[in-house]
Every structure is written in C-alpha cells, then in structure tokens.
Symmetry: C2
Subunit: 273 residues, 2 copies
C-alpha cells in the first residue's frame, strides 16, 4: 500500500468518525486502516479536535480505559441551537398553518431530514451523560426526529404502536388518556423490543397535557425500564402542569384558536442555558 | 483570522460536505469560510475526491453550470451493498423471528439507525439520476429507512397516513387492497404535502403482493405526481407477479409458514449488477 499522507488520513477519519456518532473507535482500528503508528494518529486526532471546535462541527473526545479510543459527538447547544430552533419556529408560525381545533400543521417540518437531524442533535446533546440504551417514541410524526436523536446517541430507536400488529409478536398493551383525541386510547409495544433494566430517552413531536408521554412512562414501568428524560419538539404553554415531569421541549407554543391565522411559537428558554 | 492550513480545511470540508449529502456547495462558500483562493480549494477538492474513492466513502462530484459547485453523494453499490444486506439477511433469518401468519419480526432491524442509514444509501444510490423531489412512504415501519434515503437524496420525506388526522389538514383519501390485513383499507395524504408535477420515489419496508405500493402509486396519480421508482427493504418471492412494476427490493424472502423456525432470506440478485 502506498504511504497515506496526513491530509488523506484526516479527511478519511473525519468521514468515518462523524458517520458513526458516539461510537468509540480504537486507535488500533485506524492504525491498521492507515498503516500508521499510534503516536502519529494521536497527533491526527489532536488536529481534528481543534478543527471541529474551531468550526463548531461537534466534539471529538478521547475515551480512556479498557474500552477506550476516540469518539465523535455532534453537539448543538447554546446560541447555535437557539438559532436553529428560531428558524423552525418561524416556519411553524407562518400563515395558514393553524388547523381546526387549534392544531398546527407540522408534518412537513417534522420529516425534512436536515431539520430533524439538527433537532435530534439538540436533543441528544442534552442526554449524552444519561447514557440511554434506546430512544422511545410513539408512532407516527415523532419517528424522524427520534431516529436522528437515536443516531446521534448511537442507540436503537423503539417505536410504540397504536395497536398490536401481527408482525410485532407478543406485545404489552396499556391504556392512556389522549389529549388530542380527548379519550382513552391504547398503545402497544412488542415484548421483545426492550429489556428489563435498560434506560430509555422518550422523544415525541408534540405535547399538550402530556397524556401520551405519561402512557410511554407507564409502559416503561411495565418493562422495568428507567426513563432518563423526555424531549419533545413542541409543547403548549397551557396547561402548564403536564402529566409528566422534567420535559425538555425545543419549542413553546402559546394558546392558539381556530380564528387565528398564525400560531405564536418560540424556542424554549432552557436552550440558552 | 489565523491562516487555515490545508489539513484543517480538508477535515472541516469533509464534515460539512458529508453532513449534507447531495447538496451543492459553491466554491465561493468555502472560499469565504476559509479565506482561501478558488484554485486552492479546487486542489483541496481533488484531494478529497481521491481519498473518498480510495476508502470507499462515497463520491465527491464537481457540478458545472450556473448552479455549479461541489456535492457529496454517499454511494453504496456492488459487493459492499451486497455484504451489508447479507448481514441484515442473516439477522432476519435467525431463529425465533417467524410469527403466526408467516410474518417475520423486523421492527428492531428497521429502526437501528446504523442499518437504516446504510439501507437508505443503497436505495438512494439507485435513484440519484431520476432526481426525485421527495421520498414517499406509508406509516409506520418503513419511515426510518425512507428518511435515510431522503437524507441521502437531499429531499423531504412525505408520510402517507392510515387515516385522516386533525393535524394534517384537508387530505385526499383512497382505498387500497391490503395484503397483510386481507381487506380493503384506506390511506390518507395531506393536500399540502406534495405539489402537482413533482417526482416521487416510493420506499417501504415490506412487499408481498404490492397492494400498499399500488395504493401509493394511485395516490400519486391523484396528485399528478410522477413515480420514478419503488424500493423496498424486503419482498416475498411469491407471488412473483406484484401489483406494481419495477420494484427494487434489497432482500428476497422465500415462502415461510408458522411451523418454520427460521425464514429463508437473502440479498436480491440486482444488488451485484
């Protein structure tokens, strides 16, 4: 093999590390790939760490210990996170999005890959330390952002269904109070989807009273799983008391009624902390 | 600003280009960012193109013309695509996945970010030239892979729902013959989700007779949208005649019944072409 220059190593390592966020690569892995010494690769990583910091492209971290190596974490916090959510808030506040019943049309925003990837990164940035084993969401609209949060955290996504499905196998069903439907509904999760003792991060697209999130928390109790956090794209200001605690919402929506042409939506205050 | 070295530019450009696949960046964009001349950046791009090719990390392409610049396309084809799907086939063929009715439990595989990202890249690799304006899927299990295909193609994802929802606004409903439910069901798509004259790539998780895909094709006709292709994660060998034409399936599943412990699943032949 031709000798690989630093230039080339840095570009290839950047692609490999950032394509697998939060995944630990050993130095040996890169030594073999590039036929270079560990000391050389340590220098490479120092260079990458500084470049990523300088251009706000995320964190490159060295992890010590037996399972040690280097990992890339997309980090989107502070002013940048707020600016990103300001853009999304403006999109959602544009005229014509208010639907009968005071709902806001969000489907397009919630399935644009570039936007959900950024929102997933903002969510993940808040929960790296809690080390969730999976991200839990309830079908349907929250799936894209939940998947991107799971990707950033390097964990699987688990999807709660509205009914038991023939292709999910034995399932646990529970009832919950749905705010949007205004009645008791059922949610269902395949028995084999999660394991006792795991840690879940709950992600959803929208929260009014928190009935669906409460249902997911109850569901996790049935599975003996710890909930490490609840993160939603948008919550309503009212009711201020939700049925679950410790919710981090990226956006806050003020009271809206059918007669309004635009909803009043802005990034949540904690985003700047 | 300190002068930025080539090393640093290459790492930063790699991150920026690969984070926004299929998106065209002008050279001027990078000139401003790094305070470097166009000729210098052209050399940088030549280096990156070769590194990506050498390590099979995707294609860097120079696009000429008024809207020209440079774009990164994740490409997963041939032997590498086949090896990836061989791994997925082995996971799905493991004991205990066959459910009553001859269904195979796929939910975990279909929501693992690393796997769906690769499958989305394989799908996208087949359709860059067709230039779809969006990826269409029907809720629920196909959403993660469809999102990743949409991300690679740099287009939005559009999700067809099982029922009209209050938060989707006015919608078009059509009936279709569901193979798995064995009856006529309804699918619904928000009127504002797509525009007349656009081009759709249909992505779904599973196809038996193709009734759901047929429904999506009919739905696109209602919206005067052209379907440029249909890509699914897994199709059954039987019936060989599907209700839609030109389906590209990543995996093929042989006949399966409840009594079998394992399904027989393998990558499709076209993957090696």
């Amino acid at each position: 093999m031709d000798r690989i220059r630093r230039n080339e190593r840095l570009a290839a390592m950047t692609r490999i590390l950032t394509a697998a966020p939060n995944h630990i690569f050993t130095l040996s892995h890169f030594c073999e790939m590039f036929g270079a010494a560990k000391s050389t690769l340590s220098e490479d990583i120092d260079i990458l760490r500084e470049v990523f910091a300088q251009f706000h492209l995320g964190h490159l971290e060295t992890v010590t210990g037996a399972a040690g190596g280097v990992r890339y974490r997309p980090i989107l916090v502070g002013e940048e996170a707020r600016a990103c959510m300001e853009t999304v808030a403006q999109m959602l506040s544009s005229p014509g999005r208010v639907l009968p019943g005071g709902f806001v049309y969000m489907a397009d925003v919630l399935s644009r890959p570039d936007l959900v990837e950024k929102m997933g990164m903002i969510m993940a940035s808040q929960y790296y330390r809690q080390e969730p084993d999976f991200v839990l969401t309830m079908e349907t609209k929250g799936i894209p952002v939940a998947l991107m949060a799971a990707k950033a955290l390097d964990v699987p996504l688990v999807i709660v269904r509205r009914d038991s499905k023939v292709y999910e196998g034995p399932a646990v069903n529970i009832n919950y109070l749905s705010g949007s439907a205004g009645r008791v509904e059922t949610m269902s999760l395949s028995r084999r989807a999660v394991k006792e003792g795991q840690r879940a991060l709950i992600v959803d697209d929208f929260m009014r009273a928190g009935g669906t999130a409460r249902g997911m928390v109850d569901m996790m109790r049935e599975f003996a799983v710890t909930v490490v956090g609840i993160s939603v794209v948008m919550a309503t200001r009212e009711p201020q008391k939700k049925r679950v605690e410790g919710v981090k919402s990226l956006l806050m929506m003020e009271q809206v009624d059918d007669a309004q042409e635009c909803a009043v939506i802005h990034p949540s205050d904690w985003l700047l902390q």
